[in-house]
Subunit: 154 residues, 8 copies
């Protein structure tokens, strides 16, 4: 997809379903986006290439979802100055706590904006990305405010 | 401070010291910012007023730090469409795990961009805020890239 | 329901089933009560209005049940001096521990009377509410004592 | 103390210091109260006697604080229909999590209104007790509302 | 059952199935035993009576199984000098960790010999009880040694 | 010590201090006992020899204390049919939770009677050992009952 | 199997299925291996014999998988200087955390190379064993590098 | 150091002290080694270069120690087929649990041989590295066996 504003990366094919909420909301808001499957551990070069090339392709925010020792968003964040949003997934017997700790506890210097574990986090990642884009996009801001009002009415 | 770009809110005076890393980095990058002490539970009206008035005052990102059942960033996020960054603090015997869970596990619809617990998170909150502002500020982007290069050399 | 003594609030429709034990016990004891669905994050104004108007409507105790980063009882407690009982729900992969910590670890000044996670907690919330009302209601006290004796015989 | 409205029980002498916040607030509000040191495990008969005799002595709310496998509030609650407030203490290497789980996870039928671990919980126990007493005491209600307003101003 | 050597108490009917491994092993070793269902919280007087009368009825070891805030073995231990074995059950969303902490973290003076959570613990409780009885029963000792050898061969 | 009734084994010299409460209580009750320092991992042969020879030397109960991945009581239990009491120690950053899980979660067939973590557990191990010995020792039983009465008076 | 390079031991028959990923990868790489079922607790002598005889039979790496208080790899490691790889299994209500802590928290002197919990760990144990063997086996090294490249392409 | 057999990498200068036990043991066994300070997040290129060049420089085993969201060993493992040993450090309020989960829970395909948290793990990492090297080095094997015997005598 040309000129995607949001890059969504998931660590493995099996994570695809959980992240569908992210894509749905990005589509609802008509945000150009790109979806990639890439493991930080099995394919570090592709991970790096995705992270390094994103800004020049027009990407403004990166969302990365992964389970277990979920290094994906941290590794991406080490290669870019774009904001990176992490979605921890429940992909082991540890209920996603392993993934949460691997994302949220980033050391000083390289932040990952961590969301809640699983589907709620996947949706919130898209909303946060839109909140970030809306800072410099008044039309998007309006749609976001309308969305927030609708949330309250539901 | 007039026209502050980043609003920093802490839940109590005792959290002031932990958040000093946030302020230091915002100053280093010359980001106009405002600092407030406000408890979501003891002063819900002031919390709401801060959240609701922020955008009109020019604020683009809100950082909120709190300990224990740390509702502050979530309550702020319920009142604004600006991106809200949460810094969980280690302020009880539970090592900040209570605060982490209270921030990161936000339900679908109202994201909080959660950082690591304590001082590392306080610094990363400022960096993430700058990454967000730099999306539409090329000068800031340059300084951010230089900062990242220096990180690597240290 | 007119002149309700107990206000029961749940964070979302999906929590409705878990809280049925609360309603059942309130009905058994013939306590006038009111049930509301209201998210602290998606609808902060309704949450505040419910909390602020409760006392004048005759409410004496508020029960609030929620999952994940369960701010609902804490936010309600920030707006009222009525006793607030919190029921943490198991609504994420973290088994209700996120909800428990978000409720029980309230900072000094704004207590939430926290019950056990899920269905047992939902029933106990009603019993605690009745214990509180029974302090100044001798008839209710008698029924409560009978209920306690029956518990032992079961 | 004659005609005490609130009975405060701690599991051992070493818990005395933590509970001082409870006593301070009860004194501030001029609530007649009684303080006892009694271990549920080492002195089950005294525990039972305290619980059973409380109501006839005029007690309306019981506060119990204990650490480790903290059965004290649960054991008291098994012997009375008065509301029982539990304060989990950090008295082992497990940071009070053992005490929290031993209090909050009460089975259906016998609630314990659990507060946060340690000093914040000790203070909140007194505030909750006063909120409960204030339901049928208009003067106390007024003082409670003033206290809440002052909390917000601090 | 007359002159039972081991008293087995479970906190509720729903725990009956989990404890079947205890009974099976006691039967296999032909240990006279008695089974009771009794909640420490809903029926404190029966709990006390069981604990206090056990020794005079010939009981030498007590096994108590319970879930959630599992006070049963601790409360029994407060009323007897017989060895008390606790079996924590997985009866809430917290995977039996609440029950484990409520049993094992007994304060100084009143021990509970805690087993593993659930079915393995239920079987081990019977084996430990037999190990204790076998100290002064040479025939039982022989059967126990044979049982241990068979374990190894399986 | 000739004909020791209780064998106390600690995993390393550094655990010596924590276990002093065990020795003190055994001395108070005049129970002949033997103290050994032996690591299950660094000295498996000595561990086995201690476990295998204990019964013939007159030992009736074994107490084993260890920290971290605390296999000591489990390894001893694999070599004897005597009751084995485990005391988990807080010897790593994990607050003794590693040691607790390594002891209490023994699989079916080989029980370890697990006490609370650290000093309280060390004392309780001695008391449980005495409770076990007192089953077939009327004089010891009397002293145990007196000890229990004194506990209540303190 | 004659001259096996890798010895795979599982604690019980029920763990057989989880470890199938280990065997599959060893077969894929044509590594001669031996599979044994042996409980450290129920059969300590066989465990010791397996550990002690392994080196002379040509074994270079030992893989041990177990659940609950999973002493198997630690006990094996106490009897050999071969590298021992541990696979914690999710075999209780504690999600494998008990097994993880029992393996990874080995005290100084006797390491266990701990893998992730369950199936991912079972596969990784085989890969690590092959990485170790490949240090002094250039043909194996080549196949390992090819395997790594294929991982990235999948 | 020329032709180093073991590469030791720590994530930051502050981790230097904890890893001193690793260096001490490598020196004691006269293993040529190299020590580097390199953050996976702040300096991903240097991390990659260290991992990719290690084998050609004669390195046979890599040890990596880090705290918080400790990606270092996993990132290194993604770039090499050498065995990678991870030492989780206690560098945040979460007691090293964040670091442990970030290391041990590696997904299928890229193992990290995880040691215990902190100093014990630092020592064990060196011992495991030596066990691995000793597979194809008979002299080292002899010294390792002597070391193990001495461990038992201490």
């Amino acid at each position: 997809m040309q000129n995607s504003r949001v890059l969504v990366v998931v660590g493995s094919k099996s994570d695809h379903q959980v992240i569908s909420g992210t894509i749905e909301i990005l589509k609802k808001f008509k945000i150009p986006h790109q979806m990639e499957i890439c493991s930080a551990h099995r394919n570090p070069e592709k991970t790096k290439a995705l992270a390094r090339s994103a800004e020049n392709k027009g990407t403004r925010v990166i969302i990365a979802a992964a389970g277990m020792a979920a290094h994906l968003p941290g590794v991406i964040a080490s290669h870019t100055t774009l904001p990176v949003i992490g979605v921890p997934l429940n992909a082991s017997s540890l209920s996603g706590l392993d993934s949460l700790f691997s994302m949220v506890q980033m050391p000083s210097g390289v932040p990952v904006a961590t969301m809640s574990i699983g589907e709620a986090g996947a949706k919130n990642a898209a909303i946060l990305a839109i909140q970030i884009l809306a800072i410099s996009d008044q039309k998007l801001k309006k749609r976001l405010k309308k969305f927030k009002e609708e949330l309250g009415r539901k």
